[in-house]
Amino acid sequence: MKGKPLVSIVSAGLSKFGKLEGLYAREIFAEAAKEAFDRCPNLDPKKDIKALFVGHMGESYEHQGHTGATVADWAGLLHIPATRTETACASSGAALRAGVFAVLSGLCDVVMVGGVEKMTHRTTPEVTEYLAMASDFPFEQWHGITFPGLYALMATAHMHEYGTTEEQLAMVAVKNHHNGFLNPKAHMQKEVTLEKALSSRVIAWPLKLYDCSLITDGGSCVIITKPEIAKKYTDMPIQIIGSGQASDSIGMYERESLTSLIAAKIAARQAYEMAGVKPEDVDVAEVHDCFTIAEIIGYEDLGFCKQGEGGRLVESGETKLEGKLPVNTSGGLKSKGHPVGATGTAQAYEIYLQLTEQAEKRQVKDTKVGLAHNVGGSGATATVHIFRRE
């Protein structure tokens, strides 16, 4: 069973990421869906797509829940079963996995999975409050612990235990901003210097503004099919060969480790075993960099380096665009932006572009295997998917 394709991706779409003034989430999702439809002229969306799973984290932003039906309608897919998945920032990683299940069950030959979030019309304190809902309320939020605060607690522990430095954290930001500079759909298409990142204002020490991902509006989707019928829709299907998901205590304080995410380690192990690949086989990866420390811990949890060596890995340059294992070629959550519900399938979109050689200025050469790592909250959910060029 190892390495057997679970499903194939036949198309993908991404809205512009950024401050999309005057747009509503359902309209943003429709933009992503339109791109996916246009990329795949052999697909008749109304006839072929049998189900939709959509990741969406918060109804507070727009006073709008019931996202599945809402976005299905606006994408022109009225009447298909449409279900929202919610696992905080991993909501569309979970949507992708739900889509994989739907296809594998044999009930649906073609499924659309995606995600959307509209955030920028709210004030920063409001967004801070809504994002904190992904963490424990009675013992974390109630005592003033914010979402950046939780990752800052991990960063302090990682620095103390392994000697990770604030400079190494900032190097993640510099790298991802460089990649985002090359991505026309990224929210913040500009280079950042190490000095600028290090001197930016403190959000939750040791995390500064440039250690944090962006508050962004955006939508994303991919269309998956049974592997046997993928060629009907495209000459270049991309296979998903591994899928993992795990959970952990909602309260970070109850977890075994403050310097790694057990859920991500378990999800990675599942995905690698299913795919029959090892970390060293991965050619390109999107790693959940909601904060710079999260990318460093992600390297370790995914086996790209040993525990504690994530800071040194980014410093070595190996995860840059021209390095041995380019990470976050899209610009990541840091520079492309983090419309939370849209992030998981936006990562899948980037891997799809890389493996089909459509990533233009940020194209990595000779990629065969890609990986997407999507984390919900402070690590109470993680999904890992492994992709392969056919």
């Binding site: 304190p125 009675p138 005592h143 103390h160 939750a204 020490w205």
Partner: protein
């Protein structure tokens, strides 16, 4: 003898308002839960007894929060951390009454009970915080 209060988060905070840090000890497997839970996650027992936890411990990690949600904005910047208590238990909380420079991983802290914070709407929970021992 009257029945024991339920092993809930609500009851945990009632004890906090009395200045007591209380956990639920599973009568079957002995695991102590802080906060208490109505179902033991180790052996699935529903039989517990209350056990008082020493309100002191060592700082495992911390951060200084500058950007706060609306209800905490006036206090920012403030320190929060995760504190290692006895019996392998951990609890997060604010760290107050100490200069930022003096906060160090490993420092001894004691828990303080601040019952003045109780509000009229749900949740009517008091707050606690930590300060140097």
């Amino acid at each position: 003898m009257s029945e024991q209060p339920q092993f809930t988060i609500e009851q945990f905070y009632k004890y906090i308002s009395q200045g007591k840090l209380m956990g639920g000890k599973c009568k079957k497997c002995g695991k102590i839960h802080l906060p208490p839970r109505p179902l033991c996650d180790k052996c699935f027992s529903k039989e517990f007894e209350w056990t008082q936890i020493q309100p002191k411990g060592k700082l495992l990690t911390y951060t200084i929060i500058y950007v706060a949600p609306p209800q905490f904005e006036q206090m920012a910047p403030y320190a929060v951390g995760i504190i290692q208590l006895e019996n392998d238990l951990k609890i997060p909380g604010m760290i107050r009454d100490v200069e930022r420079e003096r906060i160090k991983i490993g420092m001894e802290l004691t828990m303080q009970f601040d019952t003045s914070a109780v509000q009229s709407q749900w949740p009517q929970w008091p707050r606690y915080y930590f300060k140097p021992a």
